[in-house]
């Protein structure tokens, strides 16, 4: 069997960043000892390499973003003296994190794949949904730093044979509470494992070796319970092999649509009729395939208006021998694969890509792209020297003129770790006004990256609080106008590769020293406008209030 050696971190003494974005690897300075396991033993069950995503959110309302890592679980043949579990790491604000999994009661031991966080019951506290292989889990946040497993009560446990994928909270009919979309990868039984050999070496099977299954949609009944409406909503009309997914208003009609990536199959775009009934229209919209009309092994997806034309675009990761894809929204819900036209796929072709985040790392007003890399096969390099099980990640800087430039090698130690990365998420972990990174690495410790970019650019982070809209403001769109620069973002719950982040909307503002206007289009309701806002602040916008509130969040550190 192929011997797995440890991944590598930056050797000491290497030069720091030389480019416009500076990222520092602080993994060994934050006190996080979590280590991921995929439950593998060499039998190559198809779900092993799919684990897992992670979530960045403030679970205890202390103004600091905490980290929740998913973990795999023992599969037949796996032997270990300890039982792997998910882990919640509390942000201490002094640069370190503390494992609070036990106290919080969120140490699920199921085989974790996807996670999403949102306040589904509008009580002001973020709840967690886990999309596992087997029983899914809904943790209700009790507001005192602890969670209660309410899965059965809520009716969202799912099927035992189902391998999970991404999951998203969204308000499908704009009624003010959040419904739950659960991606299903495929139906799996270890006793019927498909074995594959490629180039004489054991290889994971393809999702095409299994039957695809439809995803699930649960309507929030408003009383803590959910009802499975997969059939009547139109979601179950098609079967796929779901991976990452995201909800967004792609056609500007004020409701939330769902973009689901499928592994080695066409993607799905579920267009919402506004009342919670969906029609799958990915082919017509131009989102099913790449520019050449080919299916991809699609992985993770994130949304942003990268070119400031007022429409939400998508960036999607894919498999080896495929380019990642930048789908530009042409308006009205029609998309074009502009990967080649924008150079947004450079550096991705040979590797398997997973996590993806749009994030304005240098606060210049143009969202950049981070891509997490790593192969599914731990012996990939034996078959093909161009790639490997462990691969460095990728950072593409948005130059603002419709092009992207690979700045990975100039971005410092944060881009040098070489692991088999999976989920990735961004958030301002030290509340210093720039976006930091957390990356879950398969079978190894995570990578924590501090953003050390130094420039004169400004920023703003906006938190939403819905009233008639759901309290988190999920599905609402925020437009920030500074001079000529008009930026649009939507509040998502669940994105990237089966992960969650972005409870605060982060806008880089470039040299602008004031914000002329902020417009919030609340999901299912009104549009509210705020003028003359300060920069370099955390701002809370409450639905129905004409005043904004500047929050005094505690400044912190990231890494000792």
């Amino acid at each position: 069997m192929f011997v797995i050696a440890g991944g590598c971190r930056r050797p000491t003494g290497e030069p720091s960043a030389t480019g416009p974005i500076a990222l520092e690897d602080v993994s060994d300075r934050v006190g996080i000892t979590f280590r991921h396991t995929d439950g593998s033993s060499g039998r190559r069950y198809i779900l092993e390499p799919m684990s897992a995503g992670l979530a960045l959110f403030d679970y205890d309302g202390d103004g600091r973003i905490d980290i929740y890592f998913l973990n795999g679980a023992p599969l037949p043949g796996y032997e270990s003296s300890t039982i792997p579990r998910n882990a919640l790491w509390r942000n201490n604000g002094d640069g370190t994190f503390t494992d609070v999994t036990e106290q919080a009661g969120v140490g699920d031991t199921g085989f974790g794949l996807g996670v999403v966080v949102a306040d589904y019951d509008n009580d002001g506290h973020p709840d967690i949904f886990l999309n596992n292989y087997g029983r899914n889990v809904l943790y209700h946040n009790q507001g005192d730093g602890t969670f209660e497993d309410v899965t059965e009560k809520a009716g969202v446990a799912g099927r035992d044979d189902c391998v999970g994928a991404g999951a998203i909270f969204l308000d499908i009919e704009g009624d003010g509470d959040l419904d739950l979309y659960v991606g299903n990868y495929l139906s799996f039984d270890p006793s019927r494992n498909v074995e594959r050999m490629v180039d004489g070496m054991r290889h994971y099977p393809s999702p095409r070796d299994y039957l695809p299954i439809p995803d699930s949609l649960f309507r929030n009944d408003g009383d803590g319970k959910f009802t499975d409406i997969s059939m009547e909503s139109g979601i179950a009309a098609v079967a796929g092999t779901a991976m990452g997914m995201i909800a967004a208003d792609i056609d500007g009609d004020g409701d939330t649509d769902v973009f689901v990536l499928n592994d080695v199959a066409e993607n799905f775009l579920f267009v919402n009729d506004g009342g919670g009934r969906f029609e799958e229209r990915a082919v017509e919209a131009g989102l099913a395939y790449n520019a050449q009309g080919e299916e991809n092994a699609s992985m993770g997806v994130d949304a942003a208006d990268y070119d400031h034309d007022g429409w939400i675009d998508f960036y999607m990761t894919a498999y080896e021998d495929e380019l990642t894809i930048l789908y530009k929204n042409l308006g009205g819900g029609f998309f074009e694969d502009v990967t080649r036209l924008t150079d947004a796929g450079q550096g991705t072709y040979f590797h398997v890509n997973w996590g993806v985040c749009w994030a304005d790392f240098d606060n210049d007003g143009n969202p950049d792209v981070f891509v997490a890399n790593g192969h599914t096969e731990d012996n990939a390099e034996l078959r093909r020297p161009a790639t490997a099980w462990r691969v460095a990640n990728l950072l593409l800087r948005n130059t603002g003129d419709g092009k992207f430039v690979d700045v990975s090698s100039q971005a410092g130690s944060g881009m040098r770790p070489v692991f088999a990365s999976r989920g990735a998420a961004v958030a301002d972990l030290d509340n210093d006004g720039d976006l930091d990174l957390v990356i879950l690495n398969s079978r190894e410790a995570p990578t924590i990256v501090r953003n050390d970019t130094r420039n004169d650019n400004h920023w703003v982070q906006i938190l939403l609080e819905g009233k008639t809209a759901n309290r988190d403001g999920v599905g609402s769109q925020v437009k920030v106008i500074t001079g000529e620069l008009v930026q649009l973002q939507e509040r998502h719950a669940g994105r990237g590769y089966q992960s969650h982040w972005g409870d605060r909307l982060h806008f880089g503002l470039g040299k602008h020293t004031k914000i002329d206007r902020v417009e919030v289009r609340w999901l299912g309701g009104t549009t509210e406008v705020y003028d003359n806002l300060p920069v370099d602040r955390f701002i809370l916008l409450r639905q129905g209030s004409s005043q904004y509130e500047v929050l005094d969040l505690p400044k912190g550190r990231l890494g000792r």
Binding site: G200, E284, F350
Partner: protein
């Protein structure tokens, strides 16, 4: 001429010999191989390799100097000998591919053709850096080597370096006038770099009007869709669909076009049709995966490389090596008609190996039935004095309709000779008796 399988065939060219698909590899490998052979034969015929004459006319061994023989023996020692078992596992085959590439680069550092073969092997092995290095070395020796430019262009494409691929593709197009494959590849690369207008010009103005290609229609559809010219995009996708009725790219394009035209009904109809096509594709892919044998596809690539290397050595006048390499090709792939034919050609020049020549010529004709193999078989039989069998093979050669004058001339020569010698009584000088051409 219609290229009904245009998209698949041209995309095979795009991925050259390097992609994993055995069909693509076989097709492209064959095209390139034929081009190489034709080029080399052409050069020889126009007298560019006069030093080969003695060898090719009188056989390999006897003409080589004692020094050359020693060198050939030294070189061949690093190759698997005739008794060496054929590698069965993919890992062993890959190992032998590595060894062959290294051997070619070690012993023929100044030979462009050897560099090309080594570069292809490196690419099959997935070592892009080594492949690029090999093709660059070839260009230093022969700046206009079309295969090196092509290889480099495809490496650039595979690495998403489309801008860098464009000049290489342009050179390929320039060096291969009339060849539509490189033109389509260039257009595809231009599209990938966003140079839609240049791609449209190339496909509309420069592309031979008599050739109908699915890939061309797909690309034009894509360009017009990008420009927002839905009318032309629709026309092009419909043309692609006419050439290839279930082309998924055309179906996708038409669904998009009608969707943008707000014709939901038509869009839905094409989407539904596409769904059925994709479903069938998936089932075929699933069955293909079930039957896929990595070792077999790798062995085929290795055999092709041995065949190329054998032909290269034959042209270099190193008969000993040519024989060893071609024998290895045949051992790896017993149905390799070209390798059998080349071996037959080698043996035909050696009186003591006439029976081997016949055996390989028969194997070539069986593996690749055609005018060329049967003509050669006829000549081999003729050399061995087996006139009945020679006549029979010549008749078969005529039946294929290619190289008709050559086949007919041989047939007449054989029948006349037979009549002169009284060794038989052909019913007529018509090869078909009834004067009916099949």
């Amino acid at each position: 001429m219609r290229i009904l399988a245009g998209a698949a065939a041209m995309r095979s060219v795009q991925f050259l010999i390097f992609h994993k698909s055995p069909t693509r590899s076989l097709l492209i490998g064959s095209i390139l191989l034929i081009t190489v052979i034709a080029g080399l034969v052409g050069l020889y015929r126009v007298g560019r390799f006069p030093f080969l004459d003695p060898f090719l006319k009188h056989g390999a061994g006897p003409t080589a100097s004692a020094g050359e023989d020693l060198r050939a023996v030294e070189m061949s020692a690093e190759l698997p000998d005739e008794a060496a078992p054929v590698p069965k596992s993919a890992a062993d085959i890959r190992e032998e591919m590595h060894r062959l590439a290294a051997w070619l680069r070690r012993w023929f550092p100044d030979a462009a053709d050897a560099g090309i073969i080594a570069g292809r092997l490196e690419y099959h092995l997935g070592d892009m850096d080594a492949a690029e290095d090999a093709f660059q070395s070839v260009l230093r020796l022969a700046p206009d080597n079309v295969h090196a430019h092509h290889g480099l262009a495809l490496i650039d494409v595979a690495r998403s370096r489309f801008e860098q691929a464009v000049p290489h593709f342009r050179r390929v197009v320039g060096l291969s006038p009339g060849a539509v494959g490189p033109m389509l590849e260039l257009a595809d690369t231009l599209i990938r770099t966003g140079r839609m207008d240049e791609a449209v010009d190339l496909l509309e103005k420069d592309f031979p009007s008599e050739i109908e290609s699915v890939w061309r229609a797909q690309m034009l559809g894509q360009c017009y869709l990008h420009r927002g010219d839905l009318r032309r995009a629709r026309m092009m996708y419909e043309l692609a669909l006419m050439l290839q009725p279930e082309d998924p790219v055309a179906l996708t394009g038409l669904a998009t076009v009608f969707s943008r035209l707000n014709d939901r009904e038509q869009a839905a109809a094409f989407t539904e049709r596409l769904g059925r096509v994709r479903e069938r594709e998936r089932e075929v892919a699933r069955q293909t995966r079930l039957a896929h044998d990595d070792a077999a596809s790798l062995a085929q690539k290795l055999a092709e490389a041995y065949g190329d290397a054998g032909r290269f050595c034959a042209v270099q006048g190193i008969g000993l090596l040519a024989e060893r390499l071609l024998c290895r090709a045949v051992a790896l792939r017993p149905d390799d008609g070209k390798a059998h034919l080349d071996l037959a050609e080698l043996y035909l020049k050696r009186e003591d190996r006439l029976n081997d020549a016949i055996a390989h010529a028969e194997a070539a004709a069986a593996a690749s039935p055609g005018a060329a193999t049967n003509l050669f078989l006829a000549r081999t039989y003729q050399a061995a004095g087996r006139s009945d069998e020679a006549l029979d093979a010549a008749r078969k050669a005529l039946a294929f309709g290619e190289r008709w004058p050559e086949a007919l001339a041989l047939y007449r020569q054989l029948t006349e000779s037979r009549e002169r010698n009284g060794s038989g009584t052909p019913s007529s000088t018509s090869p078909f008796g009834s004067s009916e051409r099949p």
